[in-house]
Protein backbone atom coordinates (compact mmCIF):
# COMPACT_ATOMS: atom_id res chain seq x y z
CA UNK A 1 0.00 0.00 0.00
CA UNK A 2 1.26 3.47 -0.80
CA UNK A 3 1.94 5.94 2.01
CA UNK A 4 -0.76 8.48 0.99
CA UNK A 5 -3.54 5.85 0.93
CA UNK A 6 -2.32 4.44 4.25
CA UNK A 7 -2.39 7.95 5.65
CA UNK A 8 -5.90 8.30 4.27
CA UNK A 9 -7.03 5.21 6.17
CA UNK A 10 -5.47 6.53 9.39
CA UNK A 11 -7.18 9.87 8.85
CA UNK A 12 -10.47 8.10 8.21
CA UNK A 13 -10.48 6.63 11.73
CA UNK A 14 -13.38 7.94 13.78
CA UNK A 15 -11.74 10.52 16.06
CA UNK A 16 -14.64 10.41 18.48
CA UNK A 17 -14.04 6.70 19.07
CA UNK A 18 -10.25 6.73 18.62
CA UNK A 19 -9.53 8.58 21.89
CA UNK A 20 -8.45 5.86 24.44
CA UNK A 21 -10.81 6.89 27.25
CA UNK A 22 -13.81 7.01 24.92
CA UNK A 23 -12.83 3.72 23.32
CA UNK A 24 -12.70 2.18 26.79
CA UNK A 25 -16.15 3.59 27.68
CA UNK A 26 -17.65 2.14 24.50
CA UNK A 27 -15.97 -1.24 25.07
CA UNK A 28 -17.40 -1.47 28.60
CA UNK A 29 -20.88 -0.34 27.51
CA UNK A 30 -20.94 -2.83 24.65
CA UNK A 31 -20.84 -5.69 27.20
CA UNK A 32 -24.14 -4.80 28.89
CA UNK A 33 -27.60 -3.34 28.39
CA UNK A 34 -27.16 -0.61 31.00
CA UNK A 35 -24.21 0.42 33.17
CA UNK A 36 -24.16 2.53 36.32
CA UNK A 37 -21.68 5.42 36.39
CA UNK A 38 -19.85 3.99 39.45
CA UNK A 39 -18.99 0.77 37.63
CA UNK A 40 -17.64 2.63 34.63
CA UNK A 41 -15.61 4.87 36.91
CA UNK A 42 -13.96 1.87 38.56
CA UNK A 43 -13.42 0.00 35.30
CA UNK A 44 -11.84 3.00 33.57
CA UNK A 45 -9.76 4.39 36.43
CA UNK A 46 -10.71 7.89 35.22
CA UNK A 47 -11.70 10.75 37.51
CA UNK A 48 -15.40 11.70 37.71
CA UNK A 49 -14.81 14.97 35.84
CA UNK A 50 -12.76 13.38 33.08
CA UNK A 51 -15.28 10.59 32.64
CA UNK A 52 -18.21 13.04 32.52
CA UNK A 53 -16.46 15.11 29.86
CA UNK A 54 -15.90 12.06 27.63
CA UNK A 55 -19.46 10.88 28.27
CA UNK A 56 -20.81 14.26 27.12
CA UNK A 57 -18.85 14.03 23.87
CA UNK A 58 -20.07 10.51 23.17
CA UNK A 59 -23.64 11.50 24.03
CA UNK A 60 -23.45 14.54 21.74
CA UNK A 61 -22.21 12.23 18.96
CA UNK A 62 -25.21 9.95 19.51
CA UNK A 63 -23.03 6.97 20.46
CA UNK A 64 -24.31 6.59 24.01
CA UNK A 65 -27.40 7.49 26.02
CA UNK A 66 -27.12 8.93 29.52
CA UNK A 67 -30.05 8.69 31.93
CA UNK A 68 -30.05 10.69 35.15
CA UNK A 69 -32.41 9.94 38.01
CA UNK A 70 -32.46 9.51 41.78
CA UNK A 71 -32.30 6.40 43.95
CA UNK A 72 -33.81 7.72 47.14
CA UNK A 73 -31.89 10.95 47.67
CA UNK A 74 -28.78 9.85 45.77
CA UNK A 75 -28.31 10.86 42.14
CA UNK A 76 -28.07 7.93 39.77
CA UNK A 77 -26.45 8.06 36.34
CA UNK A 78 -26.95 5.14 33.97
CA UNK A 79 -25.43 4.77 30.53
CA UNK A 80 -26.09 2.56 27.57
CA UNK A 81 -24.57 2.26 24.12
CA UNK A 82 -26.83 3.14 21.18
CA UNK A 83 -27.09 1.21 17.93
CA UNK A 84 -25.01 3.94 16.28
CA UNK A 85 -22.41 3.52 19.03
CA UNK A 86 -22.26 -0.22 18.46
CA UNK A 87 -21.82 0.29 14.73
CA UNK A 88 -19.17 2.98 15.24
CA UNK A 89 -17.20 0.70 17.58
CA UNK A 90 -17.37 -2.24 15.15
CA UNK A 91 -16.36 -0.03 12.23
CA UNK A 92 -13.49 1.45 14.23
CA UNK A 93 -12.16 -1.99 15.16
CA UNK A 94 -12.32 -3.04 11.53
CA UNK A 95 -10.59 0.09 10.26
CA UNK A 96 -7.83 -0.08 12.83
CA UNK A 97 -7.26 -3.76 12.08
CA UNK A 98 -6.82 -2.89 8.38
CA UNK A 99 -4.37 -0.07 9.16
CA UNK A 100 -2.32 -2.27 11.46
CA UNK A 101 -2.27 -5.06 8.87
CA UNK A 102 -0.82 -2.72 6.24
CA UNK A 103 1.93 -1.34 8.46
CA UNK A 104 5.35 -2.95 7.91
CA UNK A 105 6.51 -5.26 10.69
CA UNK A 106 9.44 -3.48 12.43
CA UNK A 107 10.96 -6.83 13.40
CA UNK A 108 11.07 -7.90 9.74
CA UNK A 109 12.62 -4.66 8.35
CA UNK A 110 16.14 -4.90 6.90
CA UNK A 111 18.95 -3.94 9.26
CA UNK A 112 20.99 -0.83 8.53
CA UNK A 113 24.66 -1.26 7.99
Amino acid sequence: MSTPSRLGEVMALDRLVHEPARLLILAVLSGAKEVEFGFLEQMSGLSKGNLSSHMSKLEAGGLIEVRKSFRGKRPLTELCITLAGRRALAAYRQQLAMVMQELPDPAASPKRR
Binding site: A27, G31, E36, G38, F39, M43, G45
Partner: protein, 228 residues
Protein backbone atom coordinates in the same frame (compact mmCIF):
# COMPACT_ATOMS: atom_id res chain seq x y z
CA UNK B 1 -5.95 -4.23 14.94
CA UNK B 2 -3.01 -4.13 17.29
CA UNK B 3 -3.31 -7.37 19.24
CA UNK B 4 -2.74 -5.47 22.48
CA UNK B 5 -5.61 -3.02 21.89
CA UNK B 6 -7.89 -5.77 20.61
CA UNK B 7 -7.14 -7.98 23.63
CA UNK B 8 -7.80 -5.09 26.01
CA UNK B 9 -11.09 -4.16 24.36
CA UNK B 10 -12.19 -7.78 24.34
CA UNK B 11 -11.19 -8.19 28.00
CA UNK B 12 -13.20 -5.10 29.05
CA UNK B 13 -16.24 -6.27 27.13
CA UNK B 14 -15.99 -9.79 28.51
CA UNK B 15 -15.52 -8.60 32.12
CA UNK B 16 -18.57 -6.34 31.84
CA UNK B 17 -20.61 -9.16 30.29
CA UNK B 18 -19.65 -11.59 33.07
CA UNK B 19 -20.35 -9.00 35.77
CA UNK B 20 -23.71 -8.12 34.18
CA UNK B 21 -24.84 -11.77 34.44
CA UNK B 22 -25.29 -11.25 38.19
CA UNK B 23 -28.10 -8.77 37.51
CA UNK B 24 -30.41 -11.34 35.96
CA UNK B 25 -29.37 -14.79 34.81
CA UNK B 26 -26.87 -15.66 37.58
CA UNK B 27 -27.80 -15.64 41.24
CA UNK B 28 -24.82 -17.28 42.95
CA UNK B 29 -25.54 -17.77 46.65
CA UNK B 30 -29.08 -16.39 46.23
CA UNK B 31 -29.77 -19.36 43.95
CA UNK B 32 -28.37 -21.68 46.64
CA UNK B 33 -30.65 -19.98 49.19
CA UNK B 34 -33.62 -20.31 46.79
CA UNK B 35 -32.92 -24.04 46.39
CA UNK B 36 -32.59 -24.60 50.14
CA UNK B 37 -35.79 -22.63 50.86
CA UNK B 38 -37.59 -24.62 48.18
CA UNK B 39 -36.59 -27.88 49.92
CA UNK B 40 -37.67 -26.46 53.30
CA UNK B 41 -41.06 -25.40 51.88
CA UNK B 42 -41.53 -28.74 50.11
CA UNK B 43 -40.79 -30.83 53.21
CA UNK B 44 -41.96 -28.31 55.83
CA UNK B 45 -45.51 -27.99 54.50
CA UNK B 46 -46.50 -31.63 55.04
CA UNK B 47 -44.04 -32.61 57.80
CA UNK B 48 -44.03 -29.68 60.24
CA UNK B 49 -46.92 -29.23 62.71
CA UNK B 50 -49.34 -26.61 61.39
CA UNK B 51 -48.83 -24.08 64.19
CA UNK B 52 -49.34 -20.34 63.52
CA UNK B 53 -45.57 -19.84 63.75
CA UNK B 54 -44.62 -22.51 61.18
CA UNK B 55 -47.39 -21.35 58.87
CA UNK B 56 -46.18 -17.74 59.09
CA UNK B 57 -42.60 -18.81 58.41
CA UNK B 58 -43.59 -20.91 55.40
CA UNK B 59 -45.79 -18.14 54.00
CA UNK B 60 -42.98 -15.60 54.42
CA UNK B 61 -40.40 -17.75 52.56
CA UNK B 62 -40.95 -16.29 49.04
CA UNK B 63 -40.66 -12.71 50.31
CA UNK B 64 -37.53 -13.59 52.32
CA UNK B 65 -35.93 -15.13 49.25
CA UNK B 66 -36.73 -12.21 46.93
CA UNK B 67 -35.45 -9.68 49.48
CA UNK B 68 -32.27 -11.70 50.04
CA UNK B 69 -31.81 -12.03 46.28
CA UNK B 70 -32.00 -8.25 45.80
CA UNK B 71 -29.76 -7.56 48.79
CA UNK B 72 -27.05 -10.01 47.63
CA UNK B 73 -27.10 -8.57 44.13
CA UNK B 74 -26.73 -4.97 45.30
CA UNK B 75 -24.35 -5.45 48.21
CA UNK B 76 -22.24 -8.41 47.14
CA UNK B 77 -22.31 -9.42 43.47
CA UNK B 78 -22.78 -5.95 41.99
CA UNK B 79 -21.28 -3.73 44.65
CA UNK B 80 -19.17 -1.92 42.03
CA UNK B 81 -22.43 -0.55 40.58
CA UNK B 82 -25.47 -1.98 38.87
CA UNK B 83 -24.89 -3.36 35.37
CA UNK B 84 -27.92 -4.77 33.55
CA UNK B 85 -27.39 -7.86 31.40
CA UNK B 86 -28.47 -8.01 27.75
CA UNK B 87 -31.52 -10.16 27.15
CA UNK B 88 -31.68 -12.24 23.99
CA UNK B 89 -35.01 -12.11 22.07
CA UNK B 90 -35.63 -15.76 23.05
CA UNK B 91 -35.04 -15.03 26.75
CA UNK B 92 -37.39 -12.04 26.52
CA UNK B 93 -40.09 -14.13 24.88
CA UNK B 94 -39.73 -16.93 27.45
CA UNK B 95 -39.94 -14.39 30.27
CA UNK B 96 -43.10 -12.77 28.90
CA UNK B 97 -44.62 -16.20 28.29
CA UNK B 98 -44.02 -17.11 31.96
CA UNK B 99 -45.57 -13.81 33.11
CA UNK B 100 -48.56 -14.36 30.81
CA UNK B 101 -49.08 -17.89 32.21
CA UNK B 102 -49.05 -16.66 35.82
CA UNK B 103 -51.42 -13.83 34.88
CA UNK B 104 -53.82 -16.21 33.17
CA UNK B 105 -53.77 -18.59 36.14
CA UNK B 106 -54.32 -15.67 38.56
CA UNK B 107 -57.32 -14.47 36.54
CA UNK B 108 -58.79 -17.99 36.35
CA UNK B 109 -58.33 -18.60 40.09
CA UNK B 110 -59.78 -15.19 41.00
CA UNK B 111 -62.79 -15.80 38.75
CA UNK B 112 -63.50 -19.24 40.20
CA UNK B 113 -63.08 -18.03 43.81
CA UNK B 114 -65.23 -14.99 43.00
CA UNK B 115 -67.99 -17.20 41.61
CA UNK B 116 -67.88 -19.38 44.71
CA UNK B 117 -67.88 -16.31 46.98
CA UNK B 118 -70.90 -14.86 45.18
CA UNK B 119 -72.97 -17.82 46.32
CA UNK B 120 -71.98 -17.10 49.95
CA UNK B 121 -72.82 -13.38 50.01
CA UNK B 122 -69.28 -12.40 49.02
CA UNK B 123 -67.79 -13.66 52.24
CA UNK B 124 -64.31 -15.18 52.01
CA UNK B 125 -62.25 -16.67 54.83
CA UNK B 126 -59.02 -14.75 55.65
CA UNK B 127 -56.94 -17.70 54.44
CA UNK B 128 -58.54 -17.49 51.01
CA UNK B 129 -57.84 -13.77 50.82
CA UNK B 130 -54.18 -14.55 51.61
CA UNK B 131 -54.26 -17.23 48.91
CA UNK B 132 -55.55 -14.75 46.34
CA UNK B 133 -53.03 -12.09 47.38
CA UNK B 134 -50.13 -14.56 46.97
CA UNK B 135 -51.39 -15.69 43.57
CA UNK B 136 -51.36 -12.07 42.36
CA UNK B 137 -48.01 -11.36 44.02
CA UNK B 138 -46.61 -14.24 41.97
CA UNK B 139 -47.52 -12.37 38.77
CA UNK B 140 -45.61 -9.32 40.02
CA UNK B 141 -42.65 -11.46 41.15
CA UNK B 142 -42.53 -13.31 37.81
CA UNK B 143 -42.41 -10.00 35.95
CA UNK B 144 -39.91 -8.24 38.20
CA UNK B 145 -37.59 -10.87 39.72
CA UNK B 146 -38.09 -14.41 38.34
CA UNK B 147 -36.29 -13.88 35.08
CA UNK B 148 -34.46 -17.17 34.53
CA UNK B 149 -36.27 -20.52 34.03
CA UNK B 150 -34.93 -22.08 37.26
CA UNK B 151 -35.77 -18.93 39.25
CA UNK B 152 -39.25 -19.01 37.78
CA UNK B 153 -39.90 -22.67 38.66
CA UNK B 154 -38.57 -22.35 42.21
CA UNK B 155 -40.26 -18.97 42.76
CA UNK B 156 -43.57 -20.29 41.46
CA UNK B 157 -43.41 -23.26 43.81
CA UNK B 158 -42.56 -21.05 46.81
CA UNK B 159 -45.51 -18.75 46.09
CA UNK B 160 -47.91 -21.64 45.36
CA UNK B 161 -46.91 -23.51 48.53
CA UNK B 162 -47.26 -20.29 50.55
CA UNK B 163 -50.71 -19.69 49.00
CA UNK B 164 -51.84 -23.26 49.77
CA UNK B 165 -50.55 -23.02 53.36
CA UNK B 166 -52.40 -19.72 53.74
CA UNK B 167 -55.61 -21.50 52.69
CA UNK B 168 -54.90 -24.40 55.06
CA UNK B 169 -53.37 -26.95 52.67
CA UNK B 170 -50.00 -27.89 51.16
CA UNK B 171 -48.48 -29.90 48.30
CA UNK B 172 -48.53 -33.54 49.42
CA UNK B 173 -45.34 -35.60 49.65
CA UNK B 174 -45.11 -38.57 47.34
CA UNK B 175 -46.19 -41.83 49.01
CA UNK B 176 -48.19 -40.11 51.76
CA UNK B 177 -51.47 -39.86 49.87
CA UNK B 178 -53.94 -42.40 48.57
CA UNK B 179 -56.49 -40.53 46.48
CA UNK B 180 -55.83 -40.47 42.77
CA UNK B 181 -55.87 -36.65 42.54
CA UNK B 182 -53.50 -36.15 45.50
CA UNK B 183 -51.09 -38.78 44.14
CA UNK B 184 -51.00 -36.98 40.82
CA UNK B 185 -50.36 -33.68 42.58
CA UNK B 186 -47.56 -35.21 44.67
CA UNK B 187 -45.96 -36.56 41.49
CA UNK B 188 -46.05 -33.11 39.86
CA UNK B 189 -44.72 -31.51 43.06
CA UNK B 190 -41.78 -33.93 43.02
CA UNK B 191 -40.36 -31.81 40.21
CA UNK B 192 -39.74 -28.93 42.64
CA UNK B 193 -37.16 -30.52 44.99
CA UNK B 194 -35.32 -31.84 41.93
CA UNK B 195 -35.22 -28.34 40.41
CA UNK B 196 -34.14 -27.02 43.83
CA UNK B 197 -31.15 -29.38 43.83
CA UNK B 198 -30.23 -28.26 40.30
CA UNK B 199 -30.49 -24.66 41.43
CA UNK B 200 -28.20 -25.25 44.41
CA UNK B 201 -25.59 -26.84 42.13
CA UNK B 202 -25.89 -23.97 39.64
CA UNK B 203 -25.65 -21.38 42.42
CA UNK B 204 -22.43 -22.91 43.76
CA UNK B 205 -20.90 -22.93 40.26
CA UNK B 206 -21.94 -19.30 39.70
CA UNK B 207 -20.47 -18.25 43.03
CA UNK B 208 -17.14 -19.87 42.09
CA UNK B 209 -17.22 -18.07 38.74
CA UNK B 210 -17.89 -14.82 40.56
CA UNK B 211 -14.81 -15.28 42.76
CA UNK B 212 -12.70 -15.72 39.63
CA UNK B 213 -14.35 -12.66 38.09
CA UNK B 214 -13.61 -10.61 41.20
CA UNK B 215 -9.93 -11.56 40.92
CA UNK B 216 -9.89 -10.47 37.26
CA UNK B 217 -11.57 -7.18 38.19
CA UNK B 218 -9.07 -6.57 41.00
CA UNK B 219 -6.22 -7.36 38.61
CA UNK B 220 -7.59 -4.84 36.10
CA UNK B 221 -8.01 -2.17 38.78
CA UNK B 222 -4.45 -2.83 39.96
CA UNK B 223 -3.18 -2.41 36.40
CA UNK B 224 -5.12 0.85 36.00
CA UNK B 225 -3.74 2.17 39.29
CA UNK B 226 -0.23 1.25 38.11
CA UNK B 227 -0.76 3.13 34.82
CA UNK B 228 -2.03 6.28 36.54
Amino acid sequence: MSPDVETRLHELESLTRSYARYSRSAGGMSSVLGGVLCLIAYLGGPLLPATPLTRTVLIAIPAVWLLAKGWMMRHYYQRMGHVEEWETPLERRVHWFCVAVTLLVAVAITASIGMAARQHAWSLPVGMLGYLALVWLLVLAAWRWLRSPLDFIVGTFLFCQAALISAGGFYPLIGTTHTHQAMLMSLVALMFPLVALAMIARGIAEHRQFRELRQRLEHLQGALAGES
